[in-house]
């Protein structure tokens, strides 16, 4: 009886996030840990980093001075960008934060109308109503790293774009701490109409890991990689700011961290991540311009294969450990 009560208390304690107290025993890993140890800190970091960027932009519009907070904010976004559910998906926020890939150049077109525009359009409420393509990191990148010098004064637009990023980051974090974290943590409880079972949360996070790896492989690497005969380095993500490789690396690290927090039993998946991360760290080609050369192209292709191998490993090992799959219809439509 006493033991049973103690166990119940311990279970509650663990459920409340007290795993640290258990010095012995294996580290607990499941979705509550993923929410508390990875996602909530990730969104808090993103909020803080975009606030820093906006504060610095209020002081100066000098691209050199803004480079550090700009890169720190983008790094922080990559920690959480892969999670395409919850508050970041509301009101098109994730799209507005990072509108890429953009094969038709919608972002540049939409932004053009805002350069030197009526200041009223740049006021926070009005700016938030602008096209998702006209906002976010890629818009800021075009202003801070222009291919050709911009004629008009871009400072007001730099400030408006940085403020808008900070506003969205704050709104996302507020929604997470205010409600969405609880929605995940109360999966299966009566009245929870988002996650009907605990397994659905694991399935959702697993799907996002698999989709995140696919995005790195097909978009971040696949678009510039093109074919051996026709590499397309000009299609690399964040090329102007020289972040193409960094975006691959940081997003791989973020997905690895999530995998490790979600499951203690996926050593092969983690090893595959480590291999891909090592390849990315060893690659000396920040904006992928080196892929115009055959040996550079092959190196990026090897990295792409490592990312794909990581995804395949996650689809087998991690899925099995979590007791989930990619979704009956999503995996095989008609």
């Amino acid at each position: 009886m006493t033991i049973r009560i103690r166990l119940a208390v311990l279970a509650c304690f663990l459920a409340a996030g007290g795993a640290l107290a258990l010095g012995a025993g294996p580290a607990r890993a499941d979705y509550p840990e993923a929410v508390r140890q990875t996602l909530l800190p990730g969104y808090a970091d993103f909020r803080a980093a975009t606030a820093d960027l906006a504060a610095k932009a209020a002081e100066t519009c000098d691209p050199a001075a803004l480079a550090a907070p700009f890169n720190a904010a983008w790094d922080a976004w990559l920690e959480v960008q892969w999670l395409r559910l919850g508050p970041a998906e509301d009101q098109g926020r994730a799209l507005a934060i990072a509108f890429w890939p953009d094969p038709k150049g919608m972002g540049a077109k939409a932004q053009k109308a805002l350069i030197g525009a009526d200041p009223a359009l740049l006021a926070p409420e009005a700016f938030a109503q602008q096209s998702v393509a006209a906002r976010g990191f890629f818009s800021l990148e075009r202003l801070l790293y222009p291919a050709t010098p911009l004629a008009a004064d871009t400072c007001p637009l730099i400030r408006a774009t940085a403020d808008d990023l900070a506003r969205m980051a704050a709104a996302i974090e507020t929604d997470w701490t205010g409600s969405y974290a609880d929605v995940m943590l109360t999966a299966g409880a009566p009245g929870n109409a988002t996650f009907l079972t605990e397994s659905e949360v694991r399935q959702a996070l697993f799907t996002q890991i698999a989709t995140g790896l696919e995005f790195i492989k097909d978009q971040r690497i696949g678009r510039p990689l093109g074919t051996f005969d026709k590499p397309r380095p000009e299609l690399a993500e964040a090329r102007a700011s020289g972040r193409s490789l960094r975006n691959v690396l940081v997003s791989l690290q973020a997905l690895r961290a999530m995998t490790e927090t979600l499951s203690p039993n996926a050593p092969q998946t983690l090893a595959a991540f480590d291999h891909a991360i090592q390849l990315a760290q060893a690659l000396d080609d920040p904006d992928f311009s080196g892929i115009a050369d055959p040996s550079g192209w092959l190196k990026l292709q090897i990295l792409q294969q490592a990312v794909d191998a990581t995804r395949q490993k996650a689809l087998s090992e991690l899925a099995r450990d979590l007791g989930v799959d990619l979704g009956f219809n999503a995996a095989d439509g008609d």
Binding site: L85, Q91, L95, D102, K104, G327, F328, N329, D334
Partner: protein, 353 residues
């Protein structure tokens, strides 16, 4: 006052009762699914509760419900070499349909209003030229076929009055493995036929959208709403919903700007109810609701959502994790949950099917 003719007719009915859907529990919907490793066809009531579960020999795609008799035609997934006519009272296979040599079923079928004719979407295996297969329903024998006037027809629907609309997806597939063979030249269309199979109208998409495969249909007040699957660059936002009133050009209905990639270029099912259109995407994990003129009203997210059908003036939707949902512009609310991975489509039973 009873007439002699009426009396005799009543007598005939007594001596040879015609089975109806009531004999199968009066299901409102049919849905294929998977339980463990087994494939099944469920009959569901309007609250999402299961009325019957019938075994299927393999994964099903869509079903077609006979307008009056408790018969469901379960189509195999593409490329389909069989369809089964199931007696929903007993689960026994009443008839087994095999397409003629060199033809393959393509996932959908529809009955004529009086139930005497079954029409099936088919392709000529080599080249994917579309056919509408015709089967009489007393013994389910093949009685003929029409040219569907396009490649890779998928869903076909009967309009009130008996005309038929076929969604010619435009895709040529390898007859053995579904590999897409003509992405550079594909050109989907909507074809309207008389009840006798005469082509009455044909609508195509603008050139820049010719890689938008038209696959699924729902009836609107004036024609059909159609759901598309984009085969072009996934980073290009394209409309996945269209509205077609025969005689006019199709109207394409983009999603709200903030939701332009939510469905991930893939609409899995479509339904119309209460003057609105619902479009699902299992890949995007969402249902999007539009007005009858194509204005986006709402987006609700739910993983692996695909099947959708009218529920009064609202919608009922199914997902791959066993959830059944009630969808309105205001909310997506759980109706019930079963340990069944619901498959692509939820098919209403009854005259409007």
């Amino acid at each position: 006052m009873a007439t002699r003719r009426g009396f005799l007719a009543g007598l005939a009915a007594l001596s040879l009762p015609v089975p109806s859907w009531a004999d199968a529990g009066s299901p409102e919907y049919l849905a294929a699914g998977k339980i463990g490793d087994d494939f099944v066809l469920h009959g569901l009531d309007g609250s999402g509760a299961t009325l019957f579960t019938l075994p299927l020999p393999a994964r099903g795609h869509a079903a077609a419900a006979h307008p009056t008799r408790p018969l469901a035609v379960a189509f195999a997934r593409r490329p389909g070499v069989f369809a089964l006519v199931l007696d929903c009272r007993t689960g026994e296979i009443a008839h087994r349909l095999t397409p003629p040599e060199g033809r393959q079923f393509n996932g959908h079928g529809a009955f004529s209003e009086d139930g005497s004719l079954l029409m099936t979407s088919e392709v000529v295996a080599e080249g994917s030229a579309g056919r509408v297969g015709l089967w009489e329903t007393a013994g389910f024998t093949r009685i003929g076929e029409w040219d569907s006037h396009g490649l890779g027809p998928h869903e076909l629907r009967r309009l009130p009055g008996g005309r038929i609309v076929v969604a010619n997806g435009g895709i040529e597939t390898d007859p053995t493995d579904r590999t897409l063979l003509n992405l550079d030249t594909m050109r989907p269309n909507l074809a309207l036929f008389s009840a006798e199979g005469a082509l009455l109208d044909l609508a195509e998409l603008p050139e820049e959208l010719r890689q938008n495969s038209i696959r699924h249909l729902a009836l609107t007040a004036t024609g059909v709403a159609f759901a598309m699957q984009w085969q072009g660059d996934p980073a290009e936002p394209v409309p996945l919903l269209g509205l077609w009133t025969p005689g006019a050009a199709p109207v394409l209905c983009p999603a709200a700007e903030a939701e332009m990639f939510t469905l991930q270029g893939y609409a899995g099912s479509i339904a119309c109810a209460g003057g609105r259109v619902a479009l699902t995407s299992p890949r995007g994990g969402a249902v999007m609701i539009f007005s009858e003129t194509g204005a986006p009203l709402a987006t609700h997210r739910r993983a692996d959502l695909c099947g959708v059908a009218p529920l009064g003036t609202a919608f009922i939707a199914t997902d791959g994790a066993g959830g059944l949902w009630r969808a309105t512009p205001e909310a997506l609310e759980p109706l019930s949950r079963a340990d069944v991975a619901w498959d692509n489509h939820l098919v209403p039973v009854g005259l409007t099917a």
